[in-house]
């Protein structure tokens, strides 16, 4: 059957694509996307368009300077953190307390998924006890589906469900 194999192929292609196609060159733009402009506008440095921004030019010039001195991206960013503190980073670093921000959303969603799983299990159990219906697995599946659809449509038309 094609279903599972196709899934596998899709996943394989996705994996292939994970191999990075180009090394990201460090540029002023690249780095200034990871920093927050310190003029008080709270925007990412690369996005700050305040004409009278007090810090954009200085920060950008500093990045340009450090790149030409051969500093690595990480070093430059750490340099800014040392100067302004963590708030200069466009997103909290993934360690320590800040991990909470990164992990909690997924933890909450996983917990929710667990609750949903249990709820559905409970409801299915109740459903099975309530009625036992044979699964329609005959050739007329398509035909049945069409009829069901038509019925649904009629039902909707009559007792419009909203």
């Amino acid at each position: 059957m094609g279903f599972r194999e196709k899934l596998v192929v899709i996943l394989l292609i996705a994996l292939l694509a994970l191999i990075p196609s180009r090394a990201s060159a460090q540029t002023v733009m690249g780095i200034s996307k990871k920093l927050i402009c310190q003029c008080g506008c709270t925007l990412v440095l690369a996005n700050c368009t305040h004409s009278e921004c007090g810090s954009r030019e200085a920060m950008t010039a500093l990045i340009r300077d450090k790149i030409s001195q051969g500093w690595s991206e990480e070093e430059i960013i750490q340099f800014f953190v040392a100067q302004y503190g963590e708030q200069v980073l466009a997103s909290p670093p993934k360690r320590g307390f800040n991990l909470m921000a990164w992990i909690t959303p997924f933890a909450v969603i996983l917990a929710g998924a667990g609750v949903i799983y249990l709820a559905i299990k409970k409801w299915t159990k109740r459903g099975r006890q309530a009625q036992i219906v044979g699964a329609p697995e005959s050739e007329e599946e398509e035909e049945k589906y069409r009829q069901q659809l038509e019925e649904e449509l009629k039902k909707f038309a009559e007792r419009s469900f909203r």
Binding site: I10, I13, T49, E86
Partner: protein, 658 residues
């Protein structure tokens, strides 16, 4: 004018308090006279607030600078349209607008002829009256738009020039209307709880009200994004700014609500959950109004700051949460689900997951928005939470939501057997796979694009496939021709097929977002006249710089000749405005927009010696976002549109809960 407006506000307060009180005293229906007087009270408050709004508008239009608000947000040279839009440019005006909109919705609730949920109206009207009272109280005390100045200034300070854009004319009122609109479904939910009529009635009433608010908020957000793109001039449309987040959170939760009420109506499950969702939506909507207007979180949007206002909002939110959840808890016994399901794999499951993910996304955004506050409180360290955080955390969540939209379309209600799964998934999956391969051959190598774009293709195909099957069924059963069958299919169940059209809109938007965020290119260059720069296939030649003055501003214009692979495309004229009344110059970007990509030119600055700095971006597929938005709104309207056909009244309202 100021006096008329203020007095009308005051009277509106008196009448609202009376109406809310009378509704509460009379909501059991024992005192018909009291109820009808309460109805008149709420209608009168609407009339009075209309007078207030009208007098503020009149003051704005007629340059009544004695009113501080008029002085602060308009000036003599401001165009009429922007004098009108000044109504929502500032704090006090937008709160008046809020209260007025709510009173209009309240009047609509009362005047609407309805068969279903009639008994709920007094309760809902009481809730609306109380909410309205809160806002009018603010208007009379902390945020009085009719505050007078000791003497009359000769001219006003003028509107922030960034707000002088057509997008700004519609974005704030739509956003506010969205926020306000969620009051009505919330009020009906509370009405159902208070009156113990917990059956279908409130869901039936609430669906279209929610849809209306949802559409308005969605359109408001979209126009905000468009405004940011063409006016803020940094080349993007969404910055995950706290105020943008505030508009997105209630929208996401309301999306979840719109889906999950289907589950309750169909299967009698999720009764408590639906209550929680609508309470959450309302609270987030109030929070949105509060974030926009309080300045708690630093943001480019925050055009007003007032700690007292913030405190009042927090108190209102607190009271709302405690009382509504308390009431819900008190009634929880009557909200037991009657659910039974046959299979773990069914449309119900996908709906549940969709709810989880939508609320999860809203939670992520909430956490990100407030994390700086949390971090400072816990560690004493200031951190920033910017786009990298939201993009990284939300992308997998949103992709999963899109995937579910596709799966959900293919899976039937109640149960899905492996056989029909395979049967129904085969073609859409094959299409997605082929699309992925084609994209790969075309040179797309970023894994996110290779996952996300086929995913979008998958969902689109499932919807088209579903339409095809439905059309064919009608064609066979009723021997209509295909076109007629398709039209009939859409029209017989507008909520459902409108919903599918909304999904298609979302897919188109997603493609635009993927394209522009993954494949955008930008370049900065300093040019002297006659010099060229190139970006992608474009060549831009800097021709000259112009300078001219208008009544309110001085304008600097740079002219660039644009060609693509040698083919001349025309000229782009990025500008910079220097307004007389504002120190900050405003950047007016020049955009050459096509379906494939936007060429986006920003005039950064210039030197005495004639060299001029430009920032040029090529943003692929941005137009798809706006087109997708239009499709989304269209689908929403189809789902919203009332059926003119006579239809049998659904059986006894509230039968389930009693």
């Amino acid at each position: 004018m100021a006096d008329i407006g203020y007095i009308a506000q005051f009277l509106a307060l008196v009448v609202s308090v009376y109406a809310a009180g009378a509704f509460i005293l009379g909501w059991r229906g024992k005192h018909p006279a009291l109820l009808s007087s309460a109805r008149n009270g709420l209608l009168a408050s609407c009339g009075l607030l209309t007078i207030s709004v009208a007098s503020l508008v009149y003051a704005l239009v007629s340059h009544d600078f004695q009113i501080e608000y008029v002085y602060q947000y308009t000036s003599r040279d401001l165009a009429l349209t922007y004098r009108l839009s000044a109504l929502w440019a500032g704090n006090d005006g937008s709160l008046l607008f809020w209260a007025w909109l709510l009173s209009v919705l309240g009047a609509a609730v009362i005047l609407q002829k309805r068969e279903v949920g009639k008994e709920l109206v007094p309760y809902a009207a009481a809730i609306i009256g109380v909410t309205q009272t809160f806002f009018i109280l603010l208007l009379l005390t902390i945020a009085n738009p009719f505050q007078k100045l000791p003497q009359v200034p000769a001219d006003g300070m003028g509107l922030n020039p960034m707000l002088e854009n057509p997008g700004m004319f519609f974005h704030p009122p739509l956003l506010l209307a969205g926020y306000v609109g969620f009051t009505v479904p919330f009020a009906f939910a509370m009405a159902a709880l208070l009156s113990r009529r917990l059956g279908d009635a409130w869901l039936i009433v609430v669906r279209r009200w929610t849809l209306l608010a949802w559409l308005s908020l969605g359109l408001g957000n979209l126009l905000g994004a468009w405004w940011a793109y063409v006016e803020l001039g940094w080349g993007g449309y969404w910055a995950w700014d706290p105020v943008e987040n505030a508009g997105l959170m209630p929208w996401l939760v309301a999306t979840a609500f719109l889906h999950s009420i289907m589950m309750q109506r169909r299967r009698g499950i999720l009764k408590v959950w639906n209550m929680v969702l609508i309470i959450l939506t309302f609270v987030l909507a109030i929070l949105g109004t509060f974030l926009t207007r309080s300045g708690v979180l630093a943001s480019v949007h925050t055009f007003a700051e007032s700690p007292l206002l913030g405190a009042s909002f927090l108190a209102f939110i607190g009271i709302t949460i405690v009382s509504s959840l308390g009431l819900l808890y008190y009634r929880s016994e009557e909200l037991k689900s009657e659910a039974e399901m046959e299979s773990l794999v069914s449309r119900e499951s996908t709906f549940l997951l969709n709810n989880l993910l939508l609320v999860g996304a809203a939670f992520t955004i909430f956490l990100g928005t407030f994390f700086p506050v949390i971090s400072e409180a816990v560690r004493g360290v200031k951190v920033s939470v910017g786009p990298p955080f939201y993009n990284q955390v939300n992308v997998p969540i949103f992709l999963a939501i899109i995937l579910l939209a596709g799966i959900c379309t293919l899976i039937g209600w109640r149960r899905a057997s492996l056989r029909n799964l395979v049967q129904h998934f085969l073609w859409p999956l094959a299409t997605a796979l082929i699309l992925g391969i084609v994209l790969f051959i075309l040179g797309i190598r970023q894994w996110l694009a290779l996952v996300a774009l086929p995913l979008c293709g998958f969902v689109l195909f499932t919807i088209l496939y579903e339409w095809w099957r439905g059309t064919r069924a009608r064609h066979r059963m009723r021997s209509e021709n295909y076109l007629k069958a398709f039209w009939g299919l859409i029209m017989t169940n507008r909520p459902r097929y409108g919903g599918y059209i909304v999904h298609i809109g979302v897919i188109i938007m997603a493609v635009g977002i993927i394209g522009s965020s993954l494949y955008g290119v930008e370049k900065e260059a300093t040019l002297t006249q006659g010099e060229s720069m190139s970006i992608e296939d474009y060549t831009l030649t800097y021709e000259n710089m112009d300078f001219y003055e208008t009544e309110s501003k001085a304008v600097v214009t740079a002219t660039l000749l644009v060609s693509n692979q040698g083919k001349l495309l025309g000229r782009l004229l990025p500008e910079k405005y220097f307004h007389r009344s504002f120190e900050q110059p405003v950047t007016e970007v020049a955009i050459r927009s096509t379906l494939v990509e936007d060429l986006y030119v920003i005039l950064v600055g210039w030197d005495e010696d004639g060299t001029t700095a430009f920032k040029v971006l090529v943003n692929p597929l941005v137009n798809w976002i706006w087109i997708g938005g239009v499709v989304l709104v269209l689908g929403g309207l189809i789902a919203f549109w009332p059926e003119w056909r006579r239809q049998p009244v659904p059986q006894s309202a509230g039968k389930r809960g009693e």
